[in-house]
């Protein structure tokens, strides 16, 4: 034990003395200060449109404000990163247009910056996105440039950096639908979304087929319809998962961890009632990094809607499934480095 204590002491001495005194450089503090006026803070309380509780690591159930802000920061920081050269940290610079290939990513408007528009038949308030083609994420953690064609009556949604998408808008514009398409960076998959002790599967350099095998083996879910798919040369696998467990059964839910280290819970599979829901997954291999597209492929009311007190409707989203299929068909993937894939 004494020998061990001595070794621990040596480790601690090493850590204290590593690199000597390393205060935060003034240029970094200056860069942070310069970004504050341009970086909106999240709303303190529930926003005007609450969203399903997908990210369990957020301080509370995630409304739109914090999520949207997270994507904005990804864009801002991404712009800083791409201005860095080999010898100089980019943190001191102000984000600006760059002549590097990455700058082409900003040609399409980001979902986070998309203009609002009325929702026909629902509200004249600008609670929906202006229909059009948008880029899903920023350039920070995303392995590819992703664009989608958004129809009317859909709205932007983000869980945080590396997990974002669009949800359909319904009559309850205050609370939102919890039904739509979500794009995800994924650094590790749970071996069992309901059992944190079952371990994790690190996704880096694993094929979509290997990731599918992990998800298909999740104990409480049933996989079906697996088939190979390709978009813009990026190969992947498409399949559906069906499952429905109660919160009592799956208290510590986690499906995967995003590239930004946030934990995504097993919505919509976990609910008060434990009703089964089917979700369509598309996993793509982007140069060794996975991109998982998750689509609420069920017609009935979402667990979020029933949780908000709406009566269960077996066909609440039947018409929206057609719109969602069109969104999925519109997905375009591009190399973030600007090269041909």
């Amino acid at each position: 034990m004494r020998e061990n204590d001595e070794f621990i002491g040596q480790v601690e001495d090493y850590l204290v003395e590593f690199d000597g005194d390393t205060p935060l450089p003034g240029r970094v503090a200056d860069a942070i200060h310069a970004e504050l006026p341009r970086t909106r803070q999240a709303k303190a309380g529930p926003g005007f449109m609450r969203m399903p509780p997908m990210l369990s690591t957020l301080p509370s159930r995630a409304p739109l404000g914090i999520a949207a802000a997270a994507v904005v920061i990804a864009v801002v920081l991404g712009a800083v990163f791409i201005n860095r050269d080999n010898n100089q940290s980019g943190v001191g610079g102000v984000p600006a247009a760059s002549p590097t290939p990455e700058s082409s990513q900003s040609l399409t408007t980001l979902l986070a910056e998309a203009p609002g528009a009325p929702c026909p038949g629902i509200t004249d308030e600008p609670m929906c996105l202006e229909p059009g083609i948008y880029q899903v994420g920023g350039i920070d953690v995303w392995p590819a440039i992703i664009t989608i064609d958004v129809p009317e009556n859909w709205w932007y949604y983000a869980n945080g950096t590396g997990s974002t998408g669009v949800l359909v808008q319904t009559d309850d514009v205050t609370n939102g639908s919890g039904w739509g398409v979500l794009f995800n960076t994924v650094s590790s998959l749970a071996n069992d979304p309901c059992d944190p002790t079952a371990g994790r599967f690190e996704t880096h350099d694993h094929t979509p087929g290997e990731l599918y095998e992990v998800m298909a083996a999740w104990p409480d879910f049933e996989a079906s319809g697996a088939r190979p798919i390709t978009i813009n040369g990026y190969k992947g696998v498409s399949f559906a998962l069906t499952g429905g467990v109660t919160e009592a059964h799956c208290a510590n839910t986690n499906m995967w961890t995003t590239a930004n280290g946030a934990s995504l819970d097993a919505y919509p599979f976990v609910s008060d009632e434990g009703r089964p829901y089917q979700v369509g997954f598309r996993i793509f291999d982007i140069d060794g990094e996975p991109l998982i597209v998750m689509a609420m492929d069920f017609p009935q009311s979402s667990p979020w809607e029933t949780g908000m007190g709406h009566p269960f409707d077996a066909n609440a989203h039947a018409v929206h499934q057609v719109e969602m299929d069109a969104i999925l068909d519109s997905i375009e993937l591009k190399d973030p480095e600007g090269g041909a894939n």
């Binding site: 070794f7 621990i8 040596q10 480790v11 601690e12 001495d13 090493y14 850590l15 003395e17 590593f18 690199d19 390393t22 205060p23 935060l24 450089p25 970094v28 503090a29 860069a31 942070i32 200060h33 970004e35 504050l36 006026p37 970086t39 909106r40 803070q41 999240a42 709303k43 303190a44 690591t57 957020l58 301080p59 509370s60 914090i66 802000a69 997270a70 904005v72 920061i73 801002v76 920081l77 800083v80 990163f81 860095r84 940290s89 980019g90 943190v91 920070d140 953690v141 392995p143 950096t161 650094s187 002790t197 880096h204 961890t257 590239a259 930004n260 280290g261 946030a262 934990s263 140069d287």
Partner: protein
């Protein structure tokens, strides 16, 4: 951390947040330096974490938990930086450490050098747990909260990391002894 300062920053007071950056920036940066072992990545991670803090401060439930929350943000930012670096360069950039080491009579310096060599070979998740517990001084539970992992994972990673460091130092020492005898 002064609660009032955090509360003012939570309500959008930029000057208060500047003060917070001044108070925690050095510490977060030093953590990032030790986890990432790259000055540029550490600066980027610190900037990312602090801007995340500014953005999400209004959602912090308990201002007294600001410091623990900041640890979580810097660990997440380090993970993101390490991951980004792996994607672009295949591996972490490491600080230059291959310069010839002149044997010193002070074994402490030799051990520090051996620890440095071994520490840079650890993965970022293992370096993180060692830094949080043996540099920052967090408990296993606090480190688990900062890393977003179960306490058991923290303990197993710490066990592995220390075992690896010890074995690496001992192996280096044996090698140096055999070279000096040859």
């Amino acid at each position: 951390m002064e609660r009032r300062l955090v509360e003012r920053a939570m309500h959008g007071d930029e000057a208060a947040f500047d003060d917070l950056v001044e108070r925690v920036g050095d510490h977060l940066h030093s953590i990032a330096r030790r986890i990432l072992r790259d000055p540029y990545l550490a600066e980027d991670a610190t900037q990312r974490a602090l801007l995340d803090a500014w953005q999400n401060l209004p959602r912090l439930r308990d201002p007294d938990r600001f410091e623990a929350w900041a640890y979580r943000l810097i660990v997440n930012a380090c993970n993101a930086e390490a991951r980004r670096e792996r994607r672009h360069h295949g591996n972490l950039r490491l600080l230059a450490s291959d310069e010839p080491f002149v044997s010193d009579t002070a074994s402490r310096i030799a051990i520090q050098h051996q620890l440095d060599q071994a520490f840079q070979r650890l993965g970022v998740e293992h370096r993180t747990v060692v830094v949080l517990i043996h540099y920052v001084g967090l408990s296993s539970t606090e480190a688990a909260a900062a890393m977003g992992t179960p306490v058991g994972t923290v303990r197993s990673r710490l066990h592995y990391a220390l075992k690896y460091l010890r074995e690496a130092v001992e192996a280096d020492a044996r090698l140096e002894r055999s070279e000096s005898l040859a």
